[in-house]
């Protein structure tokens, strides 16, 4: 099962490697991990997308909680939540036809950027699931794919 775990941790040097080290030392999966400042200047919020059965997820949460730098751990996928990811997909403009191009430009979740080298960068902000679908649809022509990993928040 896929889970998103949100971790609020002290903004100290080394905090990130404590979390990353924990995942590798205990062979937990990481699908994606992102860190950025939070509402509190002295704390960062880390979003980890991971997978595992209930026992594994329970251990991940407990082990994260045990880290002395960690202020709060929450599993957000088990309740109502919103999740988003950003992806950039670069393609050569010769690989895309007019029709698809106009479909893309009408899609509210996509933004198109042109480069000087006749390339198009498609910016896509959506749920990771939708992003997966989108990426599947353009995979054949994609020159480069850059994804941020998901962030999420509970909405109940």
């Amino acid at each position: 099962m896929r889970h998103i775990i949100s971790v609020l941790l002290e903004n100290e040097s080394g905090s990130l490697s404590r979390v990353a080290g924990l995942f590798s030392a205990r062979s937990f999966n990481i699908e994606s991990l992102s860190v950025a400042p939070s509402e509190d200047l002295s704390a960062s919020r880390m979003t980890i997308v991971t997978s595992g059965d209930d026992a594994v997820i329970e251990q991940i949460i407990k082990q994260l909680d045990k880290l002395v730098d960690v202020i709060k751990v929450s599993e957000i996928t088990s309740n109502e939540h919103i999740e988003r990811e950003i992806a950039f997909v670069k393609i050569n403009d010769k690989d895309i036809n007019e029709k698809t191009m106009s479909e893309f430009s009408k899609n509210e979740f996509l933004k198109l950027h042109k480069t000087k080298k006749n390339e198009i960068i498609i910016e896509c902000v959506d749920s990771p699931k939708k992003i997966n679908d989108f990426i599947k649809s353009v995979k054949k022509i994609a020159v480069k794919i850059v994804r941020s990993g998901a962030v999420g928040i509970n909405s109940n």
């Binding site: 941790l9 002290e10 040097s13 080394g14 490697s17 404590r18 080290g21 030392a25 026992a55 329970e58 251990q59 407990k62 082990q63 909680d65 045990k66 002395v68 730098d69 960690v70 202020i71």
Partner: protein, 571 residues
């Protein structure tokens, strides 16, 4: 008044502040080894007499000594080493303390902040390489943070589930100036060791306890760490429940008590492992279901309701699913259980039938051995040591067969008397941990039971023992083999004894003598008692007893790694 404010404004160097912090923290002893990065600190230590420094001969020895000190006294152990190799030499000890939840604070020197990351002389990323084996670590990058960080280090090391904390101090920080102010209290929003025990889980446990017909209490090192031995004894006695101990828990329940069914696990007693397998209620108290305890997971206590009491939530349901988890300090939880059982005069089930069964199992006498009149059996030495010390010595051990025989045969009646490396299984632990134990318990009898392979891993500490007149008794069970390795090779590798024979051994008697101690070699069973008595009578000398023991002896019972509890090899 004016002087007071002057005093407050007075500025000290980081090194002075460091020493003042230790003093304020009540630290009496530091185990360490000097080097470039910590010379300012050593200079300050030299100028005062409140905090003593014990010079070891290898940094691993310093950490094990600090562990022995902490384990035997419940006072945190303190270590000071230099950067680079000083820190890397300390790692084994730090990892050992992490596995066995020992409260120690290790201060490591570091290169100047301006040089960090430059591959400077004697630079290693100490915070990075110790991260996976510490409870927490810090690097002090401002002298203003020194006092707070040191306070935090002791707070984190000693509260909750104890563990090692490393504090890395760059050299320039020890020369910068700052006012000194040691905080009286400290709180950290991201670390709260005070756990409120859930009444609901306690009530659920009480119900199971009162209805169980085949209960077992499985008690580990957490009982000792939480100083809950008395509480455990009181509750177990009231309920008349059998108690087994883990390797780390020995002494938390009296080894001579009739309800004690001995150690459990890979080399545990027949009765303990059978009871674990057949019980209907397993009360795990401050124990963590390690693989040497559980054996095969899917065959572990198949019919039991499992109550797991532990301060560390991550220990619960890590290996074995707990039906009733009770998170909290073991002492608090046991007090709550007692309140609801003993104070209310609740009546447990009659478990005579269960006791009859256990007593049947006991008849196997699974730790038995037979001592002839020619070759000394290693078990016999431990047995005699127990009798002749009246079970009242502090015993440290190294790792191997001798460790298991000591755990099986020396009956510990008090907590903090059995000092060994359980989780990491570190050969070399025995002698330096005996030093720490002796420092913490001057005047008490401290014995180190070891093997001829293990003792050589920290043998240099014999020099430290002389310098500080530590009258430790070394009981070397010399079977000319890495016995435990040889045993596995006999059982699982058809007797191919790859690299387990200890060739080219030193003459331990001469070796002890050259370090300034007394050494004896004992080859006959009839000489065992005399040698031990003589050694004990040497009140102020270290005595090295080299017992030449049976090479072919194996530790039984044995549950092969990954087997079920009722699949013990008995002989």
């Amino acid at each position: 008044m004016k002087q007071d404010t002057d005093n407050k404004r007075k500025k000290y160097t980081g090194a002075e502040i460091f020493v003042k912090c230790l003093e304020a923290e009540g630290v009496k002893l530091v185990f360490g080894y000097p080097g470039g990065a910590v010379l300012h600190i050593y200079d300050e230590l030299h100028k005062q007499d409140k905090v003593s420094h014990i010079l070891v001969r290898h940094e691993q020895g310093a950490v094990h000594a600090a562990e022995g000190y902490a384990k035997s006294s419940n006072i945190p152990g303190v270590v000071l080493v230099t950067s680079g190799p000083g820190a890397t030499n300390a790692i084994t000890g730090i990892a050992d303390a992490y596995m066995d939840s020992v409260p120690i604070v290790v201060f490591t020197g570091q290169v100047r902040t301006a040089l960090i990351g430059n591959d400077a002389f004697q630079e290693v990323d100490t915070v990075g390489i110790t991260r996976p084996c510490v409870k927490h670590n810090f690097m002090i990058t401002n002298v203003e943070d020194m006092a707070d960080t040191i306070k935090k280090a002791f707070y984190v090391a000693t509260t909750g589930r104890p563990g090692p904390v490393v504090v890395d101090i760059p050299k320039d920080i020890t020369e910068k100036l700052c006012e000194f102010n040691y905080p009286e209290n400290i709180s950290m929003r991201s670390y709260n060791p005070d756990i409120k025990v859930s009444d609901e889980s306690v009530d659920m446990a009480v119900k199971k306890i009162l209805s169980s017909k085949k209960p077992v209490i499985y008690a580990g090192g957490g009982v000792i760490n939480s100083n809950a031995s008395e509480n455990l004894i009181q509750l177990a006695k009231y309920l008349n429940f059998p108690v087994t101990n883990t390797l780390m828990g020995l002494g938390c329940y009296p080894g001579t008590d009739e309800q004690f069914i001995q150690m459990l696990g890979m080399h545990g007693s027949y009765e303990a492992n059978m009871a674990m397998h057949d019980c209907d209620l397993l009360i795990a108290v401050g124990a963590r279901f390690d693989d040497r305890i559980t054996g095969r997971l899917d065959k572990f206590s198949p019919d039991a309701t499992i109550v797991h009491i532990d301060i560390d939530p991550s220990s619960i349901s890590k290996n074995i699913k707990a039906h009733i988890p009770i998170i909290g300090d073991v002492k608090n939880v046991l007090e709550k259980l007692s309140e609801k059982i003993i104070r209310k005069k609740e009546k447990p089930q009659n478990i005579d039938k269960w006791w009859n069964q256990i007593n049947e199992w006991r008849k196997k006498d699974s730790f038995k051995y037979s001592q002839g009149d020619k070759i000394i059996k290693p078990q016999y030495v431990v047995d005699r040591l127990y009798e002749l010390t009246k079970g009242d010595a502090y015993i440290t051990s190294d790792v191997g067969q001798h460790q298991m025989w000591t755990a099986q045969l020396y009956k510990f009646n008090k907590p903090r008397r059995w000092i060994n490396s359980g989780g990491l299984g570190t050969m070399g632990f025995g002698l330096p941990s005996a030093m720490g134990t002796q420092f913490a318990n001057p005047g008490s009898l401290v014995c180190c039971v070891t093997g001829e392979a293990s003792i050589q891993m920290c043998i240099q500490e014999l020099s430290t023992c002389l310098q500080y007149s530590l009258p430790i008794k070394i009981i070397n069970l010399n079977n000319r083999y890495m016995g435990m390795v040889r045993q596995w090779q006999e059982f699982f590798y058809e007797g191919r004894y790859a690299m387990s024979y200890m060739d080219a051994l030193p003459d331990f008697v001469k070796l002890a003598e050259s370090y300034g101690h007394i050494g004896h070699k004992i080859e006959k069973p009839s000489d065992v008692d005399g040698a031990i008595i003589d050694a004990i009578n040497q009140k102020d000398r270290l005595v090295f007893l080299d017992f030449i023991t049976d090479q072919n002896e194996n530790v039984f019972p044995m549950i092969a790694s990954g087997e079920a509890h009722n699949k013990m090899i008995l002989s």
